[in-house]
Symmetry: C2
């Protein structure tokens, strides 16, 4: 059933962690390609913009916790977004340890364009699945994430 040397060995093909790695990588590439068409650089840029649009202004630490992005990496991401004028960071006067990160006008506009591309990438990714299977997959992944901890 599987003696084509170009096929992954059955042991791996049925290994959930391996399947996840491959599918996630494929998805990452689809999204990255989609974002690149719009001048977007990293997938995490999109995540940060989306979080700010949804939650409103937040401190860097809160953003990091919400997005499961390390404080250190987030710092670099925000510096890039700031340089592009998509977010603004100002010291919080009520707690001067914090930076309040806000989405700029340009950031909101960029997010809308990126969003379309990202949704398109999801469509490509899920194309092989029936509508019922798509929601089923989302449900199963969400269930795994719930108990994933950090």
């Amino acid at each position: 059933v599987n003696d084509d040397p170009d096929d992954p060995p059955g042991r791996l093909r049925e290994l959930p962690s391996w399947q996840l790695a491959q599918v996630a990588n494929h998805a990452a590439r689809l999204v990255a390609d989609a974002l690149a068409q719009e001048g977007g650089r990293r997938r995490q840029h999109y995540a940060v913009l989306a979080a700010l649009a949804e939650h409103g202004p937040a401190s860097q630490a809160d953003l990091g916790r919400a997005l499961w992005i390390d404080r250190s990496d987030l710092h670099a991401l925000l510096a890039e977004l700031d340089a592009d004028g998509l977010v603004a960071r100002v010291r919080d006067e009520r707690d001067r340890r914090r930076n309040v990160v806000t989405l700029t006008r340009a950031g909101g506009v960029a997010l809308k364009r990126l969003d379309k591309r990202v949704q398109g990438a999801q469509a490509k990714l899920l194309a092989p699945l029936s509508p019922a299977d798509r929601t089923e997959l989302q449900r199963l992944l969400a269930q795994l994430l719930e108990r994933a901890g950090r």
Copy 2:
């Protein structure tokens, strides 16, 4: 329903590519931790050993195609496995461009130990799912991989 600033924004929480990235990362960590307990270094070492055990000796190019690992990365992986005595590389006398990679006795023994740990990691990963949901997840991921191309 979701105003905890420590929760990922709904937009991302329901984004398949984001879910996949997070779950795959979680899985990778579980597997890496499991392998580390047995002296294993990288997840891909396990994949190479498993492929050799299943398919038998193969050239590097064939291995790379089967495992979806880049020729360049595979070269480094095999050098490490070779240094550990888990695989042997010898020139193919019938096609002197090729290296025939074989699993050594020690490699077979190591694979058995690693395999137990990897299976344990899968159990941890899938613990939140019912048995039916686990096979369903594998089915959906396999379906996505089928049409993933490279």
